[in-house]
Symmetry: C2
Subunit: 133 residues, 2 copies
DNA sequence: CTACGCCCTCAAGCCACTTGAGGTTCAAGC
DNA sequence: GCTTGAACCTCAAGTGGCTTGAGGGCGTAG
């Protein structure tokens, strides 16, 4: 199985596969005439990586998850990765919602207060306390 | 006014100021003995950049906003930057909420279904349709 | 004149890839 | 056997928005 077939099977681009190999996330496969030849197990491994990336785990986190799979560690380990990730997602959502509220109030403030003025005087651009981030 | 003073006045790090100059966001100031000397207007300019960054505008967007300020364009231009930014923030929030829902359901699925099993069999790691991103 | 803090430039590192240049291998058709 | 075209190879650089580090210069107070 050549790299292009693997790429389609796992839904990942060809350069990305080579990149994963270069950083040690995928083990280098056998070669024939200089070209990489993969086995069907590699589809599983790469699909798992793609799944982790779809869930927005970082590559470092993905590496840890792969290790826990290879060592057949208990499911509770997997769950704690997921829980920690969920916390960071929720934190990020809270930050973005604060930012959304700030932006929305600035836009409505511009509409009621300064529209018709020029950019340097616009309330949106007045440095003030921004409750976000 | 030397760079360290400007940095404190605008709440930005010294290397960041030099970086902004290197990409053409800040105009290079006068020099004395090789050292940058800033005027009080530069505090305003840099504070505006910081304000845009606090609102999570990209540096490219910030550059456009600065241009609209310098040209004294109407406030409506500023508002449309803000509205577009608000749309992208809301889109990002929606993506993250979908991801949050997916992760939360995987975690609870693990608790009810597979806890006590090992990582390779955990429902969290089963490649399936992930409704996010 | 020495010590210290602040300043300077240039280069590399972070993350997760993508893009491009320039060259090699493979499979199919004639 | 030869040619063509797709797929493969390596290596380097680019993306964003900085931060960090190395190695050195300037200014001022004691």
């Amino acid at each position: 199985m050549r790299i292009g077939i693997l790429a389609k099977a796992a839904g990942v681009s060809v350069p990305t596969i080579r990149y994963y190999e270069s950083i040690g996330l995928l083990t280098p496969p056998a070669r024939q005439g200089g070209q990489r030849i993969y086995a069907s197990e590699d589809v599983k491994a790469l699909s798992l990586i793609r799944h982790c990336r779809d869930l927005d785990f970082s590559l470092d986190e993905t590496r840890d998850i792969l290790a826990s799979v290879q060592r057949r560690l208990p499911c509770s380990d997997t769950k704690s990765f997921a829980e920690q990730h969920l916390r960071s997602i929720r934190k990020r959502i809270a930050e973005l919602r604060a930012l959304e509220a700030t932006m929305a109030s600035l836009v409505s403030g511009c509409e009621t207060t300064c529209c018709g003025s020029t950019a340097p005087d616009c309330v949106i651009l007045q440095p003030g306390q921004v409750n976000c981030g």
